[in-house]
């Protein structure tokens, strides 16, 4: 059963900015986020009959969109590995127009596993409760709490400024200076 056109159009126009921002935060690439968002709405349009009305429609849309982003990230990783292999022995040439959205914190966020990153985005960008995040990701609330905790612990560890190298190095491992 397809949704009536006008009804789905209204849903699209009301929810598109929030879905796009979620994916932009997860992917760090505006163009990729737009592509994934369009794919997500296409899938939602086709599988409208699977939406159960006991769940908010936006969380259902978020689930589809996050799955699209996860799929995109997997493909991107494969593509990057292929490019790295082709580039072996040559210096990396970065595209000057290729700049990720956000600073170090968001960069580190995108290095997290996709489902942990999605939980962080839904909580801190949209203010979702654990229950809403659970509905969006299709997991129990306890899983959401665990993912949030692990994700924040990882972010804190990665963003901690590095201390003096000497103080963290065991004495036996220090290399004597060359005279």
């Amino acid at each position: 059963m397809l949704p009536p056109g006008a009804e789905f159009d209204r849903l699209y126009e009301a929810t598109y900015p929030r879905i796009l921002r979620t994916l932009a935060a997860m992917l760090g690439d505006h163009a990729a986020a737009e592509d994934c968002t369009q794919d997500a709405y296409l899938k939602a349009f086709r599988s409208w009959h699977t939406w159960r009305q006991d769940a908010p429609v936006e969380t259902w849309l978020h689930r589809i969109a996050i799955n699209a982003a996860i799929s995109y990230r997997r493909k991107r990783v494969l593509r990057e590995v292929g490019e790295m292999v082709r580039r072996l022995g040559r210096p990396e040439q970065r595209d000057p127009t290729d700049h990720a959205l956000g600073g170090d914190l968001l960069e580190e966020l995108r290095r997290l596993p996709a489902k942990q990153a999605a939980a962080i985005v839904l909580r801190h960008l949209h203010g979702y409760s654990n229950r809403e995040i659970a509905a969006s990701l299709g997991v129990p609330e306890s899983t959401v709490a665990t993912r949030l905790m692990i994700a924040k612990r990882t972010l804190r560890a990665r963003l901690r400024p590095a201390g003096p190298a000497i103080s963290n190095t065991p004495v036996a491992w220090r290399v004597p200076p060359i005279e």
Binding site: R21, A24, Y41, G103, H124, L125, K152, L159, R160
Partner: protein, 198 residues
């Protein structure tokens, strides 16, 4: 941005601030449903259907595998029939089995049932005979002393191809070789002229 670099801020506040700054502030033009992909697909009758097309591709490949498997099974049956009857011709298979059935029925007593084993044994025996004949025929064809077969073709076989010419071709040489002897001569004839030294 370092978490420890800003005193008094925990990670939650930092995350929210970063999201507000970089993501919530993104300028997104107001979405228009008539430009959305799903509308384009819906109006074009579903031309862009990556998921469906991939599923169709998977189903097609499975169908191909299924057909190939069926062909192998059928082919396997024909191989078995060929092995049992010793002939690649299906008409011979049925003839062999029909002959075997009538032979076995005639051997059955009035209170005996089941001719399966008998038919199988007769068909196998017949097949063995056919295979032996084929093997003997093949051995004759491979024997260098026998007439070269028309089936032996190819440059790498090392054997002459095609049927031999019934008559020698080409002109005979005009000058006989010194060792050639005629029936009435025991010695070769001397050369007709010898150059004289000056």
């Amino acid at each position: 941005m370092r978490t420890d670099g800003v005193a008094g801020h925990d990670l939650d506040e930092l995350l929210e601030r970063e999201f507000r700054r970089h993501i919530a502030g993104l300028r997104i033009p107001s979405p228009r449903a008539d430009q959305a992909t799903y509308r384009a697909v819906a109006t074009s009758g579903g031309k862009r259907m990556p998921l469906l097309s991939s599923l169709t591709a998977v189903a097609s490949s499975k169908a191909v595998i299924g057909l190939a498997t069926a062909a192998l099974v059928i082919g396997g049956g024909s191989v078995a029939a060929t092995a049992a009857t010793g002939s690649a011709n299906p008409a011979n298979w049925s003839k062999t089995v029909t002959d075997a059935m009538s032979s076995c029925k005639s051997r059955l007593g009035p209170d005996q049932h089941g001719i399966g084993h008998c038919v199988s044994a007769v068909a196998s025996q017949k097949g063995q005979q056919e295979r032996s004949q084929h093997a003997a025929s093949a051995a004759r064809q491979l024997d260098p002393a026998s007439t070269p077969s028309a089936h032996q073709t190819g440059a790498q076989s090392g054997h002459p191809t095609g049927a031999p010419a019934p008559h020698p071709t080409g002109r005979p040489t005009d000058v006989p070789t010194p060792h050639a002897t005629s029936p009435g001569h025991d010695h070769p004839t001397p050369p007709a002229a010898t150059p004289t030294p000056r």
